[in-house]
Amino acid sequence: MTVFEISAPAAPAPRARDGLLLRLLRQPSAAVGLTLLVLIIAMAASANLVFPDDPLDMVTQPFLWPGEDAAYPLGTDMLGRDIASGIFHGARVSLLIGAVATLVSLVIGVGTGALSGYYGGRLDAVLMRVTELFQTIPPFLFALAIVAILQPSIPTITVAIGITAWPSLARLVRAEVLKLRHGELVQASIALGASDLRIIVLHILPNTLAPVIVSASILVASAILTESSLAFLGLGDPNVVSWGGMVGAGREVLRTDWYVATIPGLAIVTAVLALNLLGDGLNDALNPKEAAR
């Protein structure tokens, strides 16, 4: 439109020279997200130092309300377990499963999308059909069935979330690859006789990085939600503490001691919110044009 016509010759290149971190921190919401995330990572990293004992052990009397005993600032649950310790150790589990499950999704999703978009034709048709199939199966129910059948443990939960969350990523990467596939850079590389693998890895995938990074941060958030939901239903690894599992246990004493279910829920909200804020911020920082809308 006219306005852009006017500003086009005047506007210098968007501040691409500034580092990504700087551009991120310039947006208040992304800065908040990043801060919260760093806080949660710090909690996860320091869990063993601050709370060296097993968070599943009984440490004192049950049903200590938050603030009642300074030694247990967040109180204890019906089994006398320290809730603060559970929150710290739960952060480890949530982040670990969230990150590794996303990694699994990335491998499957980026792989499928890249092959599909690059080679097109038959392979594309087949891969997209499979993607559609995985998109059709309700992901949470699918993950639940996998975990139920394989028995809940950190690896099975991670794999179950990973292999149910990749289809959107595959579509995204495919669309990006299709855009690049017929671009000059790739055509020139083909003309120079570069191998397909080399072209995909060196010329195509790096250019899809921005949207993939944004999706990945959202995927980690939704993986944490899925993990906590599974744990809430009793499908958590029985040997580790999980925020969702803590909420599930707290349900039993909701009428009298609702804080038991409330506190771990707040932890989940904080973690997921942090990642979503970060995702939005990354999106704005990596696609300055779209953010201007």
Binding site: T2, A10, A11
Partner: protein, 334 residues
């Protein structure tokens, strides 16, 4: 001479952005008479399109329109509240846009969109609005108008869509029609048809037309007077024939010289060396001076004022001195 239908007095349009104030249009004055076509020409970014939008009060955020007056049939649009302005839009002043492909709503039929223009302004029955819309489609010579009436825009070609936009703009016989590059997006043959159509409707209704374009061929054939804009300012305003015969401003001369020979296709005004200065950082003096072949030190000191010249006006301190060789003038006339 009666009062002009549209009179713009010292119009200023600025955009307040985080990077500072961008002054898109400065101290622009012009007027249009009934049944007259005024062409506003200039390169991309000279402020001509934003001027067109400002005439209808459609300058988008964060744009700010200031100035003495935009008088439409005597009423100052700048002083009108939005609700009153809205009642004039489409009724007394209408607009045709550059991109017919996107100017129509894809989920409403062509007929509905023309009817909407009528129903928004007049208390008539839907049936009456329908009849009038159909008549308008026939008037802008859309073949098989009855069938086209209930078609969705995507089924029409670009030229047909532009006819629909014109029908919509003329639905209420406005006093002023603003056409912002109405043919830029169209094929050359369709271009001529659309411009002929606008001329014809103008003659029939006595509509005043403000034709925004960068195409001097269009200017020469379809306008009565020309206003040349450069970097947000009027630099020359003349009767069309005079302007082509004796261009006074060096920029106008550059534009005309850069014009391809007749039949050589559309002109893109890129042949003048250099680029338009940033509207954020204007030079102190004449904005064209850095690109001007005849600039002298005085040009960089102050913005040259508009001076009366040959029934028009020009803003160049050297306008009177420059000699245009006779053969070149002959060539320009041709």
């Amino acid at each position: 001479m009666s009062d002009p239908v549209l009179a713009v007095e010292r119009l200023n349009i600025s955009f307040h952005t985080r990077r500072g104030v961008l002054r898109a249009v400065r101290d622009l004055s012009f007027h249009v008479e009934r049944g007259e076509t005024l062409a506003i020409v200039g390169e991309s970014g000279c402020g001509k399109s934003i001027t067109a939008l400002s005439l209808l009060g459609l300058v988008p955020e964060p744009g700010r329109v200031e100035g003495d007056a935009v008088r439409l049939e005597g009423r100052n649009l700048l002083a009108l509240p939005e609700a009153k302005l809205r009642r004039l839009r489409g009724a007394r002043i209408a607009m045709i846009f550059q991109e017919p492909m996107t100017a129509l709503n894809p989920v409403l039929t062509v007929g509905e969109q023309i009817m909407e223009a009528i129903l928004e302004h007049e208390k008539v029955s839907r049936a009456a609005a329908r009849d009038r819309a159909l008549a308008l489609l026939e008037r802008v010579r859309i073949p098989d108008a009855k069938r086209r009436f209930s078609d969705y825009p995507h089924r029409l070609s670009g030229g047909m869509r532009q006819r629909v936009v014109i029908a919509m703009a003329l639905a209420l016989s406005p006093a002023v029609l603003v056409a912002d590059e109405p043919t830029t997006a169209l094929d050359v043959t369709i271009q001529a048809q659309i411009l002929e159509l606008i001329d014809e409707l103008k003659r029939e209704n006595g509509t005043a037309v403000v034709l925004i374009t960068h195409d001097l061929g269009v200017v020469a054939e379809h306008s009565d007077r020309v206003l040349v804009m450069y970097a947000g300012r009027k630099v020359e305003a003349r009767a069309t024939a005079d302007l082509f015969a004796r261009p006074l401003h060096p920029y106008t001369r550059g534009l005309i010289a850069a014009r391809p020979q007749p039949g050589g296709g559309r002109a893109r005004l890129a042949e003048i060396p250099g680029t338009v200065p940033s509207l954020f950082a204007m030079p102190a003096g004449c904005a064209f001076a850095p690109r001007c072949a005849v600039a002298e030190p005085a040009c960089g000191v102050a913005v040259p004022p508009l001076m009366p010249a040959e029934d028009g006006a020009v803003a160049c301190i050297r306008a009177g001195e420059i000699h245009v060789p006779e053969p070149a003038r002959e060539a320009l006339r041709a």
